[in-house]
Symmetry: C3
Subunit: 348 residues, 3 copies
């Protein structure tokens, strides 16, 4: 239950008060097509604004390009970027931290090793395990059933959702968020093959380092390095089911959709985007500002910024043509056979 | 250890008693090629019947098309559909619920919030966590290490295997079964990009709703909606490693093989089937009664029932031809070069 | 902190002492390009040896093909195979077992059923659950939050990392290592469809059997068999996110990279290798000594050893040509159109 006044008092440049009562109360947030009179609604297109007005939505946050009526009972905010307005306003409606409510900040059932160091205002859920000499920064939230192994470090104001695994010696920055069942710091996959064809394990004695503001979805896995560090830079966000192999170095502010996989020792610059199920081979280097379409397979370096797609990888425009022509392949084969026959050429 | 009499007393139309002693005892169930004299065997083909007879299997459940001998010591049941017979009879041999045996229905080590509501005959395993105001229906089984966050609701007779995660406010219907390490209700993947290229999180304040009789395999992830609901309809079954993004709406009685992925805000009707690793882009709508081959990629709406495959998607017959012609591509390229040379055409 | 003397005393044929002080002390292991004077360094190429010498690395393990200087203060070992030397020496630097340190071998918070049998020197972490009649072999390590269901068996000297799930009746051999969030023994995916289009569950009453020295990465899933056994043979290693469906039989000493998937009832011989995201259809048989490239899809038997790739699968050489020609597809289509026009052929 949020009033327009509370939103106004955010003084956000992404949601500027326009008109209406600042005492308007929104019970919830709904998409335009489901709007009702108790809801706050974000609208970016004229028909969405109509829907919200018709439903008499109590608060409407509209893109600045839309002409707002002057005879409406709704309260209006204007934004240059609807998604930025959502990022600014939705935290007011987000009860996420209530999920971690408990009578005591450190749940009595949690196992915290005496040598572990917990900062100020750390919350630790039921049955969490915090190992020897682990360090947890101020204001961080450790969900129930999280396992943090020895000497691992968690920065300030980081959220580990329930059932996350943080391996020994791994380091997470501040303001990270890691979703359930994600594994950080399992062994990299490395074996030496004997003459007899057996595979002897090469111990993985490195670690994983995550910068600040890194978010990893549910059921991801980031392997520890063989000797040194696997790194994911600050501001990089990964969706569910992403796989990062040992020794990988990833820069800042990248976005990876679900099922992204990167094999050992590859590197990615900063400000890149990867579609779902994109896969990067081992020992490949991708520069800054690269966009890779979903399902692409990158097997060699990409030294130039730009958009790419396909497998093998091509500039995005070319890869879209290749994809479109794939459906022509049967016709191409038949037509070529016709040409060969027409010309009386022999089969080779 | 099950007698033919017990099977007969099921009075199932999927396994009809034919002949033999109703006191025959099966210690186990084996496939025809491994049958022995203590086993119940399901047979659908003549050579399987021979194998079962040769092994003197104590109980044989045979497809009705098979001619059963009259001089055998085995006890015979007949079925119109061997898999339906398995679905009817195998529960007698399934010790699954024994896995959840414990001295007290609510294990003393579990943490159940005082405000949570548990129905009749609910079983809660060691170290399970049931949050504030969560509700668990009658006869449900909550495995060890399951985490159910605040205000989540679990229907009656639902089984949550160990280490499942159910996020705050999510709702599961009755008779659902969720396998280990599956995450229901992690955040959807949504960020607003600033001018500086940083990604600000858009809080995900919606939830996940599962109908009745939904089964999800191990290590799946279903994200909560941005504002409203991500839905999976009654009777839909998913294999391991399936990914359902935020705002997705899936109908009833669908089957998804392992590695199925569907991106944000897409919809699927009812009675569809998806092969392994099939992937659906965001904002795509698929109607009822669609079959999608494994590894396919669906990037636009499918408004007509039918079978489809490939990437880009084609009617299944066409996609199989395209696939077959892919192996001809090298030959096609060479033959075309020969034609061009033959004609004296210049390269363009 | 390891001395050259300790390495020498391994008497490993994979790392033979050559020269220098046996009192040399390595504080850590670094890659050549990051070497410093306190580090042990493995080098296989001349420029790496130069890097290590320049940094005055305290211990250098060099491939036997490299000419070692006689005027260096470093201590030298020689190896015929650098990775085998890593497999031999790195265990000295691997503090993995320290992650499982605790005051008592069986953590008091663990729940061990009175009927479970634990061998000598078994370590059980906080909140682990070991079910009725489960058996744990001598010297095994059960991480925190591991769930081992009833009647499951774990061989000697096996490591289960935290949050692993081992289902009822499943059996693991000796010296296995299973990484976090891996599920062994969830139900296979099997339903019988009713006339009305509903899917009735076929109970999965089989189990999973792993041989000795099997390693499974993080977030894998191996399903129990419908009736009998899903098997992974001794010495087989899988990376993260691998999926093994019910009734699959896999031989010995195979290596599967991340995202490998194999559908129901398929079989794989021994000494095979599978690249990342390789997928095997159901009821397919692959013989010994087969190499399958990453992203390949195998939909029919492979009865001959060799290297293969692509989808559809081809001998590797052919599949690489097909892949290369894919990028030519647009040009091929245009050129063919030009030929058809040149010849004055009508469209068909």
């Amino acid at each position: 239950m949020i009033t327009a006044d509370v939103i106004k008092s955010l003084q956000s440049s992404d949601a500027v008060f326009v008109s209406g009562s600042t005492e308007a109360i929104a019970q919830k947030v709904l998409p335009p097509e489901q709007a009702d009179s108790e809801s706050l609604v974000f609208v970016s297109k004229p028909h969405q604004l109509e829907q919200a007005l018709k439903a008499q939505a109590t608060i409407i946050v509209a893109h600045k390009s839309l002409a707002l009526p002057t005879d409406s009972k709704s309260t209006f905010f204007s934004t240059h970027h609807v998604q930025m307005a959502m990022a600014a306003i939705l935290p007011l409606f987000d009860g996420k931290m209530n999920r971690f409510n408990q009578e005591t900040k450190i749940h009595p059932s949690a196992f915290v090793h005496p040598s572990a160091h917990l900062g100020q205002n750390v919350s630790v859920g039921p049955f969490a395990v915090i190992g020897e000499h682990a360090r947890i920064g101020d204001g961080s939230t450790i969900g129930s059933h999280v396992v943090i192994e020895c000497y691992a470090q968690i920065g300030a104001h980081t959220i580990l959702h329930p059932q996350v695994f943080i391996g020994a010696y791994c380091e997470l920055g501040a303001h990270c968020e890691i979703h359930p069942h994600t594994t950080i710091g399992a062994d990299g996959f490395a074996f030496a093959q004997t003459k007899e064809g057996q595979h002897k394990k090469i111990p993985q004695i490195g670690k994983v380092i995550l910068g600040d503001n890194v978010e990893l979805g549910a059921n991801c896995a980031v392997d520890r390095a063989a000797l040194t560090e696997t790194r994911i830079g600050s501001g990089t966000k990964m969706d569910n089911f992403c796989h990062v192999a040992h020794n990988v170095i990833i820069g800042e502010n990248n976005v990876m959709a679900a099922g992204f996989k990167i094999a050992g020792s590859s590197t990615i610059g900063s400000n890149c985007m990867f579609g779902g199920d994109a896969a990067i081979s081992d020992h490949v280097n991708i520069c800054d500002k690269v966009i890779i379409a979903g399902r692409s397979g990158v097997t060699s370096d990409i030294p130039q910024p730009g958009a790419y797609g396909g497998y093998p990888i091509e500039p995005l425009r070319e890869s879209l043509k290749t994809l479109a022509n794939l459906s022509q392949l049967t016709r191409i084969r038949k037509e070529l056979a016709r040409v060969v026959k027409h010309l009386g050429l022999k089969e080779e």
